[in-house]
């Protein structure tokens, strides 16, 4: 049983404690509360560095101190506070940093509302538990044998076939019917590799359709995208040792993962706003009358500062782009403004929540829209790497990890 220590403020009163417990139970974990004394709470400033007006936040900090001093008490930590509480947002971030700096315990940080459900928390909790449970598997650096990976995403389905550490076939189709799309992508990858399905030794599956597809193809590994994508990213970018940051702007949600030796240490998943997704860029391309594959190259010639963007919203932001075109702005400036808008929103809302350490690796289909990694480089003031096969990252990660299960 994986013990997940909950350091939180407001969960019981938001009516979501049951959802946290349910998400933990689904991934085989148990929520625990480290024991602290009244003195621990009253003296928290001396050990943690601050005390605040809200007692429950002081209690959360005291519990963080207890865990750092007794790391055997918990296998993982979740730090959760109410969305829109400034006091809690500061403390939540500081608790995450405190545990990250003083222990090797993985931390998940999340701000909830009364609408947060177990389903929202599930992928995050699953990733947290995976990093604890499969530390050995995640430390794997080479793909061995003949394996396949399928990434059943919300917008596209990707598949790869790998042999002896090399990608030998890929398949990429828009997601329509989940199982049919998986079959089609897999068939395309097999055909390119010149391999028959029966020859594949094991299949790994990830993405939001993973449970359905995993059962369908009799997968040996069914795993959420956070651990799989970070593994795939550091493998393809040749950054398996030391720190790395993986950014994946997807069709339905975005992931920012802080990785150490190939294992996720902290991560955020955002999935509320379409304005910070690949969909926004698709719409921008349509308005500009260019193919999505051309949008990035066009953006590289432009300057976002020449376009006034009034909103990150997919509706109002797109309206800003259209207005600026009618006011005579150049299409390349508009293309870059769209890329900048998406990058800036991810930067403001997600990258602040994790440790951004170099190398920064961008993956997923959107990373091929050249303007997007460029906009991220401008915001982060650092080089952003887009590895080969970046759009197949989940499939590569799944094929790599599942090969680890072949040996015994």
């Amino acid at each position: 049983m994986i013990r997940v220590a909950q350091l939180s403020c407001g969960a019981e009163y938001s009516g979501i404690q049951k959802e946290i417990d349910r998400a933990a139970e689904k991934v085989g974990a148990k929520i625990i509360y480290p024991e602290v004394s009244l003195e621990d709470i009253l003296n928290v400033e001396k050990k943690f560095g601050v005390s605040v007006a809200s007692g429950d936040l002081n209690m959360a900090m005291a519990r963080a101190v207890r865990i750092v001093e007794n790391p055997e008490l918990a296998d993982a930590v979740i730090v959760m506070t109410c969305f829109r509480c400034a006091e809690a947002a500061i403390i939540r971030s500081e608790i995450r940093k405190f545990i990250h700096e003083h222990s090797r315990i993985p931390v998940l940080s999340y701000s909830f509302t009364e609408r947060t459900t177990a389903e929202t928390l599930l992928t995050r909790m699953e990733a947290l538990v995976t990093t604890v449970k499969y530390r050995g598997l995640l430390a794997r650096e080479n793909q061995k044998g003949l394996t396949a990976g399928i990434d059943s995403g919300s917008t596209t389905t990707k598949a790869v076939v790998m042999r002896d550490n090399q990608v030998i076939g890929t398949g990429w189709v828009p997601t329509t019917e989940v199982l049919k799309s998986a079959d089609d992508a897999f068939a395309a990858a097999l055909q390119e590799a010149g391999i028959k399905k029966e020859e594949i030794q094991a299949v790994g599956v990830t993405g939001y359709g993973r449970f359905l597809v995993g059962k369908h193809v009799n997968a040996r590994l069914i795993q959420e995208e956070i651990t799989v994508n970070s593994k795939g990213a550091v493998f393809l970018a040749d950054a398996q040792k030391g720190p790395a940051t993986v950014i994946d702007i997807g069709g339905m949600d975005n992931k920012a993962i802080s990785v150490q030796d190939g294992i996720p240490g902290g991560f955020t998943m955002g999935g509320i706003c379409a304005g910070a997704s690949g969909r926004f860029l698709e719409l921008a391309a349509k308005r500009l009358g260019v193919e999505i594959t051309e949008l990035g190259k066009l953006a590289l010639k432009g300057n976002y500062k020449n376009v006034a963007m009034n909103s990150y919203c997919i509706v109002f932001g797109t309206q800003s782009l259209v207005n600026s075109l009618s006011m005579g702005c150049k299409p390349e400036d508009v293309a870059m403004a769209a890329c900048h808008s998406v990058a800036e929103q991810v930067y403001e809302q997600q990258l602040q929540e994790i440790e951004v350490k170099e190398p920064v690796i961008m993956v997923g289909g959107t990373s091929l829209i050249e303007g997007l990694p460029r906009a991220m480089e401008q915001l982060l003031q650092t080089k952003v790497t887009v590895p080969k096969y970046a759009q197949f990252i989940g499939a590569v990660g799944a094929a790599l990890l599942v090969s680890g299960l072949l040996e015994g």
Binding site: G10, S54, G55, R84, F112, E114
Partner: protein, 145 residues
């Protein structure tokens, strides 16, 4: 007998003094009891469901954190019932139902702007202060009908 809300709304000392002097103390555990002993809901530990933060919209807008609104769903109705109040200065160790300072600020504000008699005190630190504390409460409660 008057209905007296106490702050902190979970205080044992204040609620005990109010009740032993013949008045009704309005305290959060009674709100918690209503939820925790309800048969039909199954949302442990408190049986606070996402409905409570929605009920809390009566006291705070939607851009106020859900934890504040959920707590207000427990405390707000007590404030509405109150005919008098005893407020003790925040001692720095409030947890649980009184563990959120933003809620506590709103609770004090709503009590004070309600227009009922309010007694302001600090927790005592020695015998002389304790004696004054008890006597002020006695005198305040004695004047209530």
């Amino acid at each position: 007998m008057a209905k007296v809300i106490v702050y902190p709304p979970t205080s044992m000392i204040l609620s005990d003094l109010v009740e032993r002097m013949g008045h009704k103390a309005l305290v959060v555990p009674e709100s918690v009891r209503k939820l925790a002993t309800a048969d039909e809901i199954e949302s442990p530990p408190l049986n606070v469901t996402p409905e409570e933060p929605k009920k809390g919209l009566r006291y705070a807008a939607v851009d106020v954190p859900s934890g504040v609104r959920g707590r207000m769903a427990l405390i707000g109705p007590l404030i509405e019932e109150a005919e008098a109040a005893i407020i003790v200065e925040d001692p720095g160790w409030l947890t649980g139902c009184a563990g959120c300072s933003r809620t506590n600020e709103l609770v004090r504000l709503l009590i004070r702007t309600k227009g009922v008699p309010v007694l302001d005190l600090s927790y005592p630190t020695d015998d002389a202060e304790a004696k004054a504390f008890v006597q002020k409460i006695k005198a305040f409660l004695g004047e209530l009908k």
